[in-house]
Symmetry: C4
Subunit: 252 residues, 4 copies
């Protein structure tokens, strides 16, 4: 039984494409980044991936129409080499599902001649981030040097838990197939969806790819998130203030 | 190894049948509705579905005879188009089991030429329901319009978690096969088995199908549930009253 | 990949054998009963069943030699019809594993011409049992009548959760293959290994099979368990007494 | 779909090799021991084993290069019979994964003509260990006698839970293939990584294999662990002392 269902909308001819992955994860950094890239480049969807490894769920879109949860591939043609961008609603639910999905994605990528891939994600620190670094990990040592030129940092011992999920597996399994890969992780507290970290990751990626992205939409989303978090902060502060007042001795 | 066992009691000839699903779920609304439909139409069982994705369990019926847990399909012949009704003891236990079972059910439905399906369920609000709305979700935009004529509501952003389980998957996977589907969800608190919500769903469905159902049995069950819940309410109130009295100061 | 490994020690020729199952479960009643039957009849082991559905574990027997956890089949030749007795260390760990193992066991049984089976187990009541009833469940209505003659009881609505695990599945899946089966459940508190309930089950089974068993070993084990539980009871009582004394007011 | 990926770096010719396993487990005793053996013998890696049964994870090594989690096989040629040493980052995550991986490892071992295997592990007692015993378990009774000559102990009823995981399964499944196996378990509290227990296990193994190992590196690691644990002990003592002082009555 085939547990992965591929639904091609189109079979584009692509010239030495690069695979870029952005699936849900810490701070949704990778997903935000990849979705922004798709919007800005007006990339075109060519493949829907359904799988028994996703939750048994449909999403109901405004208007009342359902959509089975999926991953999707988009393409964008560029002079120097085309792009395949992978986004989606979920990652595989089980370890085995993760491996099967990443393998299937690499099969597809290989079929298009992909030799190079970038996986995008967040690096959760648990702290509020002032200046968002982009942390890297690569399949090959020479890519480390190359990435450092783009201000990607490789701090010793970070991330010390490794990289879990598709962003890690696509590199690990891709390496076994001879692909070169880089994981770009934007630092994030991990407590909120983090458009700033997504922007930091894309600022690196646009230099690597030699493109120029407009970030106004991401900045708007970041401003919204900032507003929500500062409102939450204010409410919290008020509650604390309230408590202090209640603790004051009664002076008659 | 075949993890789904089909036991045909009969292989009926059906003319452009519609599939109706009502498996256990929130408030057991779908199951109640589908079982009521079967009883009122005197629909005939033609298929038992056993599966490794169900619990490893037999039920003991009165009289001491066991029955392996299963899903079942019934048919009912009608002038305008026959019905296949799916009911059962359980849904698949795992996400993968859910996908395999829904796929198998669609295989069977496709074999009978099903092009249209209705999945019945509850929409749990967590609140007591005064007037039970029927919320809809469909595979195609034109079905939304059609359903609105039958008083099915499509409130923006509801259900915001999508639809989990067979009621969602049959639509989602059916859509990939070109089937048209509607999910009818009766609003329910979700705290009790809810025959009223089942009736609300069937009142919509009978108009869609052009049939006329007798609801006295469901109304009787609803009255029983009402009696139980109001008894529980009375007990709860008495306990509260008791506590209040105990809290009164002793006046000697 | 074959997830069930059959290791035949012997391939006996058996004449219309009856399958008797006693695997671990509530109060270990079924396992105790089947093991006692094997000992008393000096039944002979002919098959070891290993499976990926069991825990990844070896047991270390006295003397320091390991044994992979397994199920085992024994046979015993009798004038009226031979016996196959199934015992083991574990049941399958997952629902799917339970189904696969029960199916495999029925395949083996069918290969030997088994048409009749008895599954032995405990029926946990959560209460101390004064007089242990044997509750039954069968695949066919006429077996209910037959079993009532052997003092097997079929109380309406019991067990209301059905029968979970091998004792249930072998009946349920066996019924689909046209086998006749009975589950004999000895009432037990479920808090301890219960040799008395095992004896009650075997007292019924010996009459059904037309054999005469010596129960002295089971009675000895029951006496041991009684001793332990009454010691535990005494300790508990002493602790309560102690507390009462401590609660007494100091009278100087 | 093949859930185990074998990546051969070399296909060495080995003469009646012995398999030695040391995967992560209680106190990481087996892994520490096998890694020390590899370092001291300068054993050579010839095989990387990747699997869908491991976590979906890459590790990031210093320098920023990723490595998919794996098990690895090393070989070392010796006059009396070569060695294959199995180490790794993880054991299989599920019971089924454990069985599949152990089977695959035995397939590889059998291909090289392995007839004898040693699995290394820890035996967690929950207590601080003064003098670390090495507890044994074997596939065959005559191996018990042989091991006792090397000061391996076989205390009656220990380990009473059997041996769970690869160290147990390789013996249990190996025995079914006619292999002879011994599990050597170093006693450990189980609270810390335990290089002392690893050394105790290796002191037995070196005598069995007729080799002489240098333990200075393991002793250094043991000293480091001792330092950490005694620091933790001191901090704990200070906290207790602090509490005592706070509990002293104020004498003005």
């Amino acid at each position: 039984m085939n547990k992965i269902i591929l639904q091609y909308l189109e079979k584009p001819e692509l010239s030495s494409p690069i695979l870029i992955e952005g699936l849900p994860g810490v701070g949704n950094v990778g997903k935000l980044a990849a979705e922004h890239l798709i919007e800005e480049l007006c990339a075109k969807k060519f493949l829907e991936i359904y799988s028994y490894h996703f939750p048994p769920q449909v999403l109901v879109e405004d208007g009342g129409v359902v959509r089975l949860v999926s991953n999707e591939m988009y393409y964008h043609k560029m002079p120097k080499g085309d792009l395949i961008i992978l986004v989606g609603d979920y990652q595989g639910l089980t370890p085995e599902g993760q491996y099967e999905l990443s393998s299937a994605i690499l099969d597809i990528a290989e079929g298009y001649g992909v030799k190079e891939l970038y996986t995008l994600g967040g690096y959760g620190t648990g702290n509020v981030i002032e200046k968002c670094r982009v942390i890297g990990a690569t399949t090959h040592p020479d890519l480390v040097e190359k990435m450092q030129k783009y201000n990607v940092e490789f701090p010793r011992g970070e991330p010390n838990t490794g990289i879990v999920g598709a962003s890690g597996l696509l590199l690990g399994l891709g390496k076994l197939r001879g692909m070169e890969g880089v994981c770009l992780m934007g630092e994030t507290s991990g407590y909120f969806v983090d458009p700033k970290a997504a922007q930091a990751v894309l600022e690196v990626l646009q230099n690597i790819l030699g493109i120029k992205l407009d970030f106004s939409r991401l900045e708007m989303r970041a401003a919204q998130i900032d507003k929500i978090t500062s409102q939450l902060q204010r409410i919290e502060d008020e509650i604390k203030e309230e408590h202090k007042r209640e603790d004051l001795p009664y002076i008659g």
